[in-house]
Symmetry: C2
C-alpha cells in the first residue's frame, strides 16, 4: 500500500477501497503515515466526500485502532445519547438518571467544552467531589450499581480518532460531515452501547446552522450506527435559542436538578422526555408498558432524582452540597416592553464563554459559577426596565465584553411577531 496513491485516489474523486481505509488508519496510528500526508487526505475527503460504505469502513478502522467496551453481560439493555452540542444543553444531566430510573443502562462517555458550547464533564465537575475519570472497572461498577455512568473516554478508545481530531483542528478540516460522523460514531461504538439516540442540533448556537447540513450529518451517523449493529435514531432539534434558562456549569446543574425534581423549564423537560423515550424504545423497552416506567412519570415521582443522587454519589460527588456560585453579577435590563420574538443561542453562548464558563484552549480551567441567567425566553412577555439577563462571573472585568456579545441577541416585539417553533424538528431512523 502506498499513501500517496490513496491520497491521489480521493483527490481525484475516487472511492477508497476497504483495504486502503484499513491500511491508512492503521499506518497513521502506528506513525507510518506522516501528519502532512494525513492532513492532505483529510482535505481531499473534506472537498470530495466519502460515500456510505467508505464512512462506515473509516469508522470501523478507527474503532479497530483501540479497545471496545462490552456491557452485554449487564442485566439491563444499554442505550446512550449523543448531542452535537448547543448552548444551555444540559440534557445529559437529567436524561441519564431518568433513563436509568425507567430500566435501561446508560454508558455515557462525555467530553469537555471548547468554544461557545459547554461540556457535560465541566458541568458535572462543579459538583463537589465528583470525578470524571474512571477506570474501565470503576465504570462497570457504577453502571451495574446505578444504571448509568457519565465519564471521560479513556485514551484506549479509538486512539486514531484522538490523533486525527487534533490534526483536523489545526488544518482547517473539522467541518466535514463524513469525518465528524466517523469521529463521533467511532467513540460511541467503542463505548459498547447497544442502542444510540443522536440529538443533532440545528440553528445559530449549533455546529450545523442549516437544516440540510444537520439532516445530512444525522443521516450519515444513523447509517454508520445501523451498519454496525447499534440501533440508532436521530432527532433534529432546535438550537436557534438556548435550552432552558441557565447557561454555565453549576447554573445548568441546578437547572437539571429542578427538572429531576419535577419542575424546571418546559423545553428542557420536553427534550429530556422525548430523548428518554427514544432511548428506551431503541433499547427494546416500551415506555409505559410491561412495567417500564414512562420518563415523564420518573421525573414526577422522584425516581429520576433518586437515580441522579445515586449516580453522583457513585462517582464521589455530594448531590446535596451547595454548588459553586460566581463572586460577581450584573443585570442587563430589557430596553423595551413586549414579547421576546428571538433570542440568539450563539450570542448567549459567546457571552457565557466570555464570562468564564468555557475555555479558549484545551488546557484552560473553567469557572464553575460563571454564566448567564435568561429571564425571558421566546414567546414570553417582558416589561422595559425589568431584568432580561443576569451575568455571573468571578471578575467584574468580564462583564463589558459579555454584555457586548449580547447586544442585539434578543428581539422584543408585538405578540403577533412571534411564531412558536417546534423543539423537535424531525426524526430519522
Amino acid at each position: 500500500m502506498d499513501v500517496i496513491e490513496i491520497i491521489r485516489a480521493k483527490r481525484d474523486g475516487g472511492e477508497l477501497t476497504p483495504d486502503q481505509i484499513d491500511w491508512v488508519i492503521g499506518a497513521y496510528t502506528r506513525g507510518e503515515v506522516a501528519e502532512e500526508q494525513m492532513s492532505a487526505l483529510a482535505m481531499a475527503i473534506f472537498l470530495n466526500g466519502m460515500n456510505r460504505a467508505e464512512v462506515s469502513r473509516w469508522t470501523e478502522a478507527m474503532l479497530a485502532s483501540g479497545e471496545r467496551l462490552d456491557f452485554t453481560d449487564l442485566s439491563r439493555p444499554t442505550t446512550d445519547k449523543h448531542s452535537t452540542g448547543g448552548v444551555g444543553d444540559k440534557i445529559t444531566l437529567p436524561l441519564t438518571p431518568t433513563v436509568a430510573a425507567c430500566g435501561a443502562a446508560v454508558p455515557q462517555l462525555s467530553g469537555r467544552g471548547l468554544g461557545h458550547t459547554g461540556g457535560t464533564l465541566d458541568k458535572l465537575e462543579s459538583i463537589p467531589g465528583w470525578r470524571a475519570s474512571l477506570t474501565t472497572e470503576e465504570m462497570r461498577g457504577v453502571i451495574t450499581d446505578t444504571g448509568g455512568v457519565i465519564c471521560a473516554a479513556g485514551a484506549g478508545l479509538a486512539p486514531a480518532d484522538r490523533r486525527l481530531y487534533a490534526l483536523r483542528d489545526v488544518t482547517g478540516t473539522v467541518e466535514s460531515i463524513p469525518l465528524i460522523s466517523a469521529s463521533i460514531m467511532s467513540k460511541k461504538l467503542a463505548e459498547g452501547t447497544g442502542a444510540l439516540v443522536l440529538d443533532v442540533k440545528v440553528g445559530s448556537g449549533a455546529f450545523m446552522k442549516d437544516l440540510d447540513s444537520a439532516r445530512d450529518l444525522a443521516r450519515t451517523m444513523v447509517d454508520i450506527g445501523n451498519d454496525h449493529g447499534v440501533r440508532t435514531v436521530a432527532l433534529l432539534t432546535d438550537m436557534e435559542s438556548p435550552l432552558g434558562r441557565r447557561v454555565g456549569n453549576a447554573l445548568e446543574v441546578a437547572e437539571a436538578v429542578e427538572v429531576l425534581s419535577g419542575g424546571g423549564p418546559a423545553d428542557v423537560v420536553e427534550l429530556t422526555v422525548a430523548l428518554a423515550r427514544e432511548m428506551l424504545t431503541a433499547a427494546g423497552l416500551t415506555p409505559g408498558e410491561d412495567g417500564v416506567k414512562d420518563p415523564a412519570e420518573a421525573l414526577r415521582d422522584g425516581s429520576a432524582l433518586e437515580s441522579w443522587k445515586n449516580l453522583i454519589r457513585a462517582q464521589g460527588g455530594d448531590p446535596d452540597a451547595p454548588l459553586p456560585e460566581a463572586a460577581e453579577s450584573r443585570v442587563v435590563l430589557a430596553p423595551t416592553s413586549g414579547v421576546v420574538t428571538r433570542l440568539d443561542a450563539y450570542q448567549v453562548g459567546l457571552a457565557a464563554w466570555r464570562l468564564g464558563a468555557g475555555r479558549a484552549r484545551k488546557e484552560d480551567a473553567v469557572s464553575f459559577g460563571a454564566g448567564v441567567t435568561l429571564h425571558a425566553k421566546p414567546g414570553e412577555r417582558i416589561t422595559a426596565g425589568e431584568p432580561l439577563f443576569t451575568l455571573h462571573a468571578d471578575e467584574t472585568e468580564r462583564f463589558d465584553r459579555a454584555a457586548e456579545a449580547l447586544e442585539g441577541a434578543c428581539d422584543i416585539g408585538a405578540e403577533d411577531e412571534w411564531t412558536p417553533a417546534p423543539l423537535v424538528i424531525d426524526r430519522l431512523a
Copy 2:
C-alpha cells in the same frame, strides 16, 4: 494572521489576499506554519485552484523567500528556456550554445532527472570533468566569458519552493497547475533572466498528457512571467514520441554534438532552431537581421559548436574526451515490416530508466552510458528482422525488464496508417 483562516478561505473556494499569501509563504519558510498545515492548504489549492492574481503573488512570495540573481550588467541581453520535461529531451544542450553564438546570454539553471524523464545536469555530467555546481561568482564568470552557463540552482534561490516541492512530492499535491507554475516560475525569475521561452510538452512522455492541460499550464506560466516584467513566450510541443534517436545521458550528449556539428535528427534540429529564434526574439534581437545570426546558420557554420566547446571547458569539462559507454548492449528486432506509425515516449523513457539512465530516489546515481537507441522513428520504414531498438546498460540483468517496457511501444503498419504530427503544436505569448 491565522493559518487556519487562510486554509479555510481556500477550502471554501475563496480568493487569497496578497497579504495572506505573503504571510503564509513567509511563515512556512520560517517554520511557523507546520508541514501538515501547508499540505492541507496545498490540497485545497489543488482542488479549488488559484486565479491569475493569486498565482502571481504566490510566485512573488516564493521569489522573495530567497536571493535573486541580477545579470542586467552583462553586455548582452539575457534569455532562457524551460522545458516541462520529456523523453530524449536534450534540447538545452544544443540550444544554449546556439543562442550564445547568435548574441544573447543564457543563464540556465537546470535540474536532475527523477522518474522516466532525464535531467540536463545528469546528461552533462557524463562529460569527463564537467561540474554542475558553481558559486554565483563562477556562474557570472562563465556567462560573461562564453555567453552561456548551465548549472545547478543554489540553495539560496526560492528556498520556500524547495521546501514546498518536497512536501508536495509526499502528499499527492504535485500535479496542480497553479503550484507547478509558481514553482517553475519562482526559480526562473530568481535566476534573473530578462526573457523566457517555455517548452511545454504534451503527450504520453510528458507531464501533461492532454492539450488542454498543457495549454492551461503554459498560459499560467506566461502570465506569471509577463506579470513580473520577464518577456515570456510558450511553445506547446509534441511528446507522444521521444525527441531524437537516443535516450540516455552520454547517448544524448553525443546526439547534441551531432546537431551542433550541423547534422543530427531532424526533430532535434527543428526544435532547437524554433526555440532559439523565440529566445532571441524575446530578448529583443531579430534572428537574421542587424548582425544577429540565425540559429540555423549558427548550427551550419560551426559557431554553435565552438560556443559549446567554450561552455563545456569553462565548467571544467573536456569536450573532446570520449564519452562513457555502457558495458553491455542488446538489440531488439522489428517483428514485422512496414512504416512506424507510433512510438510511445513514455514506454521508451521507462525502458531507459530501467536500464539505469534515471534514478528512483533522489540519492541514487545514474549510469552515464545506459539508454536506448531508436533505429526507426514514426514515418520511417523498417524491415522485419532489422534492429528496432538497441538497449545499453552496465548489467545484462537490466535488459529483460527494459525490453518488457518496450512491448507494444512501437506500432508498425501500412504507409497510409501514418499521419505526420507537427512538432510545434501551438505558441502562446
